[in-house]
Amino acid sequence: MQQVLEILAQQGPVDPSEIATRLDRPVDEVEALIRQAQEEGILLGYRALINWEKADGEKIYAFISVEATPEHNRGFDKIADYVSHFDEVHSVYLMSGISDLTVVVEGSDFREIARFVAEKLAPIPGVRSTATSFVLKTYKMEGEIVAEEAGNHRLAVSP
């Protein structure tokens, strides 16, 4: 399963027959593994990796460190789940270290994100403090280096 997942993680959706050829396994087996990964909640879906800084549609991100009050028996699960349901929220992580949650928020400009924090996130009961850091420039995302490609310097034909 690991090898199949690595191919999907690197390339997104790949035809099972291609994976089967690459790994020298029967197609049925690969299809079954993909199904199993989906059923077990391991394979969650496929998304395109987009460098929004280059695209026309303006999109910015902020990392918000949230200090929250844990609840008896449930810790931070309830508040994290609540925060996760806002459309503006891109991802939510429970963190070790100084803050409790890191919430990644997506918006079309600084003001929109600031308003979300002030009007929606900060007032949630249990949220004690927020510290917002805006992303200014992306260098690497999801394992991909965003900087300009070095280009292909290979000769077209060589021995």
Partner: protein, 397 residues
């Protein structure tokens, strides 16, 4: 006064590599997918570049020992011992060269006297025969064939032997065919080397790129270390082609003779490339393993694809080349490659660039991204369709 022709007869007798010729033609075309490249498509691992940049800043810019940095020779000795169990003395049995190419040249010059014969198994890398000739030797070609998956047969060597035979030159995994030879098959060659007192020059630059089974280092065969000149380098496994860094391992007298020639012609290999090679051996096993895994995926995909579109291809188990037969098309290798390039913008190398027995085949490199390989296969399929339906200009026939 008109100057007389100053170029030597020897230099003049060697035709330019068929690859060179084809390169010039490819250069005239745009939007080409190239399967004609003999090098990895990965950049050199970042750690290696970083180590070298750091060395530059520290002022590591001097000559090294003619043999090369001792630290690198020690790392090479350790690596060979770890992989193949052969012990080389870093002090006397290893020479750092500018890639296998220089090792081959200096090696031939170190062992050959005028008229000495070297048996060369073709198809093979383009420099083998010229290096023998430049050193005053005589190459004796033995043609391997698809019937034996391009593996050299012991009986063929027997037939090529003469009292002048001094050495046998092999390169497995093979460029251009991707053929590998198993340990028992190599042992048969070793037996002949022993019987007829031959030196075996073994170019193992693609040794790490062996996809099924284990690579056999020729000097790891019983009694073969004193009869083997092992040539290897960092170009393919560590994606360091442009660095020009390799090594030769062999009996101390041969390595010393090679070092003498190397000291007068190259002095030493680039110190920076040597620093990069140390970093490769010490810290880049994981990067190398990952690249090899990627080549393996592409290999299966591409070989499968070639067979599907109707270019029969035996399964290459090493290097990053496929060597499909184009005999069914009725075209020569040269015409096929030329027509495929001009019609569909896919560059391959005609098989006869690697020896006469490569006629009827083309070399396709699968060291390209999966998307490029798929696109190349679809263009090749289209080309074959055009051929079948007689839609190609007659000038290709």
């Amino acid at each position: 006064m008109q100057p007389r022709p100053f170029v030597s007869r020897t230099a003049d007798s060697i035709p330019p590599s068929g690859i060179r010729e084809f390169f010039d033609l490819v250069a005239t075309q745009d939007d080409v997918i190239s399967l004609g490249v003999g090098e990895p498509d990965f950049p050199t691992p970042w750690k290696i570049c970083d180590a070298v940049v750091d060395a530059l800043r520290r002022g590591v810019t001097s000559y090294t020992s003619n043999y090369g940095l001792l630290e690198l020779r020690e790392a090479i000795a350790e690596d060979i011992y770890k992989r193949y169990g052969v012990e080389y003395d870093p002090g006397r049995e290893i020479l750092i060269t500018a890639g296998v190419s220089e090792g081959m040249d200096v090696g031939m010059r170190a062992i050959l006297d005028p008229g000495d014969e070297v048996i060369v198994a073709e198809p093979c890398y383009v420099s083998y025969k010229p290096c023998v000739v430049f050193a005053g030797g005589v190459p004796v070609v033995v043609a391997t064939s698809a019937d034996n998956d391009f593996r050299l047969q012991a009986a063929q060597i027997q037939e090529a032997l003469t009292p002048q035979t001094k050495a046998l030159l092999i390169g497995y995994p093979n460029n251009p065919t991707g053929a590998v030879m198993s340990r028992p098959e190599l042992a048969q060659l070793a037996e002949i080397a022993e019987q007829h007192d031959l030196l075996v020059i073994s170019d193992e630059i693609y040794g790490h790129l062996t996809y099924e089974g284990q690579h056999t280092c020729f000097s790891s065969l019983p009694d073969m270390k004193p009869r083997t000149l092992l040539l290897n380098g960092f170009s393919k496994a560590y994606a360091m082609t442009g660095w020009r860094i390799g090594y030769a391992c062999g009996p101390a007298p041969i390595i010393e003779a090679m070092m003498h020639i190397h000291s007068y012609t190259a002095l030493c290999s680039s110190v920076l490339a040597q620093v990069g090679a140390i970093e490769a051996l010490r810290n880049c096993e994981a990067e190398m393993t990952e690249m090899i895994a990627q080549y393996d995926h592409r290999r299966r995909l591409f070989v499968n694809g070639l067979n599907e579109i109707g270019l029969p291809c035996f399964e290459p188990r090493g290097a990053f080349y496929t060597f499909p037969s184009i005999q069914g098309t009725g075209l020569s290798s040269g015409k096929f490659s030329q027509a495929l390039l001009l019609e569909e913008k896919v560059a391959t190398v005609p098989g006869d660039a690697f020896g006469e027995c490569g006629e009827g085949y083309i070399r396709c490199t699968y060291a390209s991204s999966i998307d490029q390989l798929k696109e190349a296969l679809s263009r090749m399929a289209q080309f074959l369709d055009k051929l079948d339906s007689g839609k190609l200009p007659v000038s290709y026939a």
